[in-house]
């Protein structure tokens, strides 16, 4: 693949806007009577890499899923790229978006799951080109070219015709990252991308994510990989019981946590 045809791992952000990529104000979410998010305040700047850590059940996944509207926010406000999630502002009124518009906005946000969730009935290449062709209606030739260069970047160019079940977990997760990037998102969400992997496979996935971060992509990463957070994250956010308890530069939150609950959690994961 020549340099001219290769797609760099870059984010297509709206430079004109000065809004942060994600802004949450007192975001609340309940499932039935269980309140999972109890007023989350958080900002993710453009090009920033934010790692979210916290105990199981603290609402990290739920918050990520609110960002791309896989879950509906019950209270508070959530903006992505200057737009209220799930709504369109016209004048001083918020109009709830039609399903089609919601899908369109979701397509601008990439998401990587703990269990990869590749489409098992499609080859690796088909996994990558499916959404850009259907959701963005892009021509097959263009998408294929982009997909192949992305596969090259995650080190799996030779696996284009393989089915997911013939790949290792680490390879599957790299395909999943490439699949999300093939939509040319402006923001990438990662929900424990390495938690389901054998330890020796974690490194390859983290390397891809490191490349992505250095290319300027805005990333929200839920992870228990403290070394990754320390090295790559601009900021670390500590979640507990549905709230952001502590946040700051990675070195500060990890090495010198201020809050007792953060300290207890970090002792446990180490």
């Amino acid at each position: 693949m020549t340099e001219s045809t290769s797609t760099r791992l870059t984010a297509a952000s709206h430079e004109s806007q000065n809004d942060p990529m994600v802004r949450a104000e007192q975001v609340r979410k309940s499932f039935g009577r269980l309140e999972v998010l109890k007023g989350v305040d958080l900002t993710i700047g453009r090009g920033e890499v934010v790692c979210m850590v916290g105990p199981s059940g603290s609402g990290k996944s739920t918050f990520l899923r609110c960002i791309n509207h896989l879950e509906r926010v019950d209270g508070g406000r959530l903006w992505v790229d200057g737009q209220v999630v799930g709504y369109e502002q016209r004048g001083n009124k918020l109009h709830e978006l039609a399903d089609k518009e919601i899908c369109k906005r979701r397509g601008q946000i990439g998401m990587v799951f703990q269990h990869f969730n590749l489409f098992p009935h499609m080859t690796v290449l088909e996994n990558l080109i499916e959404a850009p062709r259907l959701a963005l209606k892009q021509p097959k030739a263009d998408v294929t070219l982009r997909a192949l260069s992305l596969l090259e970047q995650v080190g799996l160019a030779d696996k284009r015709s393989a089915y997911p079940r013939h790949l290792s977990g680490g390879q599957q997760q790299r395909v999943a990252i490439a699949r999300a990037l093939c939509m040319q998102p402006k923001l990438m969400l990662f929900d424990e991308p390495t938690s389901a992997l054998d330890p020796e496979l974690v490194g390859d996935v983290l390397a891809v994510m490191r490349d992505l971060a250095s290319s300027g992509m805005t990333m929200a990463v839920v992870t228990h990989e403290m070394s990754f957070a320390r090295e790559v994250a601009d900021r670390v956010v500590f979640f507990d019981a549905g709230q952001v308890v502590e946040e700051g530069p990675a070195s500060q939150v990890i090495n010198d946590p201020q809050h007792e609950r953060t300290r207890a959690f970090l002792r446990a994961v180490r």
Binding site: N117, L118, A176, R179
Partner: protein, 314 residues
């Protein structure tokens, strides 16, 4: 490979002298041979009693096996099976998607449909459709300008298609629903996160994976449908069975003509079974090890029963 074999058997006793070749003696299965012989014997005895019995009138069977009106009946049976299965599958998918809708009214509508059509006998449904004109002499579909004469519209054939197709849809919807439920929820999630709409997700991600679960019972349904179409003989639709009946009412030879019909039903179900095998294979791709084709299986069988040539253990 001979070298490998020698090395691996060195730990065992008595170890052969270096350079000496080993002969492999396959395990014997005497029990299997006895069981197979018993089955073959019973089969031969049955065949002889059937072929040797003149009362089966094999000459008449032979004559009508190629009869034109039987062939026409066979064609109608196949055509009716195909049309009713298409109606059943398409409507079944719609009903299955309705069953998992977020809207409770749509959900209960589909549930009511399935309960009704599964809860009443097919023969009764067929007769109801046939007699629809008695209930609704004029069909308007509730739309202005539509004014259809039910007696003309509901011919025996339309009654047959409605009866068989709508009934089939109820069963197919349960099969499709089981297939949809069998697909991991993460698939829907991933498709949604990629910006696919609900219908795109259903068509491109969920249903193709559900097919693995849907296809085998659908094959059974198709074979069942082929035989169920014989019920339409009560509506005087000239299918395979009814064509045979017309002939034997004239010639008073019911047994050979029923055999003719049975032979044709058997031929078509056999062909359908073969087709089902290959369709299942197609939809299993990417998911599991493909089952071998009969040709591959035959080759494997011959391979295991051929004594291994010396040094051919690879």
């Amino acid at each position: 490979m001979t070298a490998d074999l020698r090395r691996s058997s060195e730990g065992l006793s008595p170890s052969p002298a270096p350079g000496e070749d080993l002969t492999v003696v396959p395990k014997r299965h005497p029990g299997r041979w006895v069981a197979a012989a018993v089955v073959v014997l019973i089969g031969v005895a049955l065949l002889r009693s059937v072929v040797g019995n003149e009362r089966f009138q094999w000459d008449v069977v032979n004559l009508y096996l190629r009869d034109v009106s039987v062939a026409q009946g066979l064609w109608l049976t196949i055509w009716l099976t195909a049309v009713c299965m298409v109606v059943g599958v398409v409507l079944g998918i719609v009903l299955a998607v309705m069953r998992i809708s977020a809207n409770p009214v749509i959900r209960s509508g589909a549930f009511g449909y399935v309960s009704f059509f599964r809860g009443t006998p097919l023969l009764v449904q067929l007769l109801f459709w046939y007699n629809l004109a008695a209930l609704y002499p004029v069909i308007t579909l509730g739309l202005p300008g539509i004014h259809l004469d039910a007696n003309q519209l509901i011919t025996p054939l339309t009654a047959a298609i409605l009866g068989l197709g709508l009934n089939e849809a109820a069963y197919m919807s349960e099969i499709v629903r089981a297939g949809i439920i069998s697909v991991d929820h993460g698939q829907q999630e991933a498709a949604g996160a990629l910006g696919l709409t609900r219908s795109q997700t259903m068509r491109r991600v969920i249903l193709p994976q559900a097919m693995r679960v849907i296809i085998p019972p659908t094959g059974n349904e198709t074979i069942g449908m082929l035989k169920m179409t014989s019920l339409v003989s009560v509506l005087a639709v000239p299918d395979l069975l009814y064509s045979a009946q017309i002939i034997y009412n004239r010639t008073f030879q019911p047994i050979p003509l029923l055999i003719v019909a049975s032979i044709w039903y058997l031929v078509v179900t056999t062909l359908l079974t073969i087709g089902q095998f290959y369709v299942e294979r197609h939809f299993a791709r990417g998911n599991k090890v493909l089952p071998p084709t009969p040709l591959q299986r035959l080759r494997a069988l011959l391979a295991t029963h051929t004594p291994l040539a010396k040094g051919d253990l690879s």
